[in-house]
Subunit: 325 residues, 2 copies
């Protein structure tokens, strides 16, 4: 039994891998959902599969406003300024969220337009190396973390409407099988720099170094190279957008990695080449990660209740998921 | 129909992931195969599964000598000096190969003992993050590259016996479904530094940087981190042995990676953060790799025939597999 209920229709702007997969799962869950995709032929394909999709942003936002929908912005990061302006003007009553892989820069853009009272940032930790509507699939979010940000609550009093919006975003994530992890935008960006953006940068570098070895290297490449370079096959513009938008945090963790790698290089260049320090530390870290997998602790929270911010803070500190009631 | 025939029994020394999986596949193919494992309880487990396994190295080498077996050394690299000394003394007529992930250091140890006339180095490009007999499995080598070295042929005339040994090692690889790639030891070590040892070093560093982010980072980690740190879960002593034994080649490619990553760091720190150079190069490299996958060209070679060295050189240059007839 699915206990998640979202109190309004959902309107998804942008039907790529994430937006498209969300449309599929919400539709399958029987929740009223409609969407917009800029590319007419993609919208047409989605309609042929039975989805309620338009290629007119004007019409879509008018409908969202009329129906009091929760808007989900699922376009690439460079498209945000335009979409935010359009929402401000054409859907002035709607609450909205987004699914971008950076959160501070988006929150700042939202605040510049004075829209923070009806915005809750979010980010599903799901994806593949593929992108676009054709890559969208059902079940993409099952068991995955879905970050829901609470900066406005941390910064002061919030309205009942904002608390209800936070609850609806969390329930939407639950409706598609994801686990809600509350964070501040800054903590999110620091964490994903480590576990998503740095892996992308390392994958790009490894991909180049392997290719530099020519035909023999690529012919011998097996699991370790294939797995570690997989995300280098992601669309370059998407990788660039997320890394560049999170540059300050990414630089910090890239410096950590550079120090470790430079240390390993020096250890290898000694009279007795040794990787003891790096390999022992890496092994212990990976074992800790394995031990955690699939075992997120859970806290329960009621949006708007007294002290709910402290539950969210506590969940963030231990990487816990929250159940909204 | 399997066209591969090995002209003698096969004796496997060391039944970890590689040796154990080889034993399983050769046994399943109906080829006379016996093995040795130092740990008595592991040898017992293998016998209970119906394999012909001893925990006496003395008895195993005596049997190999008596039956004229092809010996496969499948112990970790630090164990090689002892095993080579024992083979020199106790199986003085046997041809032998090995499956270690470095080839120059092993060839040097073989030459120091004057055994190069009955040795052919080899390396199956297969593995998982697990190790030991319990991790061994059937089908591990199916479709994988299996390097077979030809240094002695490159360096001068070889005996008919050495040519026959080379053919048997290649046929053994074919018997378990692998594709034979001929290389010199030095070319092999340079290539695997790029596509195996560097991935391990990057995985260790990424594993540490992710763990440095604490509970929240590990809770948010998804596919890119999981895939890219997988091999950091490999047994530390095995990772160290292969990387440290190949230190000169690994340093070269680590320097290439460090230069790329330092460049990316500087590009991110500018007024207009940009990863265009690295991401475009990484993407192009990965696409080239994808395009090659599963499409190794094939050359045919008859060991000992006039000019067979030039076919092996040509195969190495293009990363081609060879079919032995």
């Amino acid at each position: 039994m699915n206990v998640h209920t979202v109190s309004r229709p959902i309107c998804i702007i942008g039907l790529g891998l994430i937006g498209g997969s969300l449309l599929r799962d919400l539709h399958a869950a029987g929740h009223p959902t409609f969407g917009y995709n800029r590319t007419t032929s993609r919208a047409e394909e989605a309609r042929e599969e039975g989805f309620d999709v338009s290629s007119s942003l004007t019409e879509t936002l008018a409908r969202a406003e009329k129906e009091g929908a929760l808007i989900v912005i699922a376009v690439p990061v460079p498209g945000f300024p335009h979409i935010l302006d359009r929402i401000a003007n054409e859907a002035p009553s709607c609450g909205f969220t987004d699914v971008a892989s950076v959160k501070s820069a988006i929150l700042q853009a939202v605040k510049e337009r004075g829209l923070e009272g009806r915005y809750v940032g979010s980010h599903p930790m799901a994806g593949t190396a593929d992108s676009g509507w054709k890559a969208s699939t059902t079940g993409l979010f099952q068991g995955r973390a879905w970050v829901v940000c609470y900066d406005q609550l941390e910064e002061g009093d919030v309205s009942d409407a904002w608390a209800a919006l936070w609850g609806d975003v969390a329930h939407m994530a639950g409706l598609v099988g994801a686990e809600v992890i509350p964070t501040l935008a800054d903590s999110h960006d620091a964490a994903v720099a480590r576990i998503s953006h740095l892996p992308h940068v390392l994958a790009e570098a490894l991909s180049v170094v392997g290719d530099n070895g020519g035909a023999l290297s690529l012919s011998l490449a097996a699991g370790s190279y294939t797995d570690a370079t997989r995300v280098a096959g992601s669309k370059a513009s998407l990788v660039r957008a997320m890394c560049e938008t999170n540059a300050p945090k990414l630089i910090e963790v890239l410096d950590e990695a550079l120090e470790l790698l430079q240390g390993a290089r020096n250890d290898l260049a000694g009279d007795q080449p040794s990787l003891e320090e790096l390999v022992d530390a890496g092994y212990r870290s990976r074992i800790r990660f394995d031990a955690r997998s699939g075992l997120r602790p859970v806290l329960r929270v009621h949006p708007g209740a007294d002290g709910w911010v402290s539950i969210l803070r506590q969940a963030e500190a231990i990487g816990s998921r929250v159940e909204v009631f």
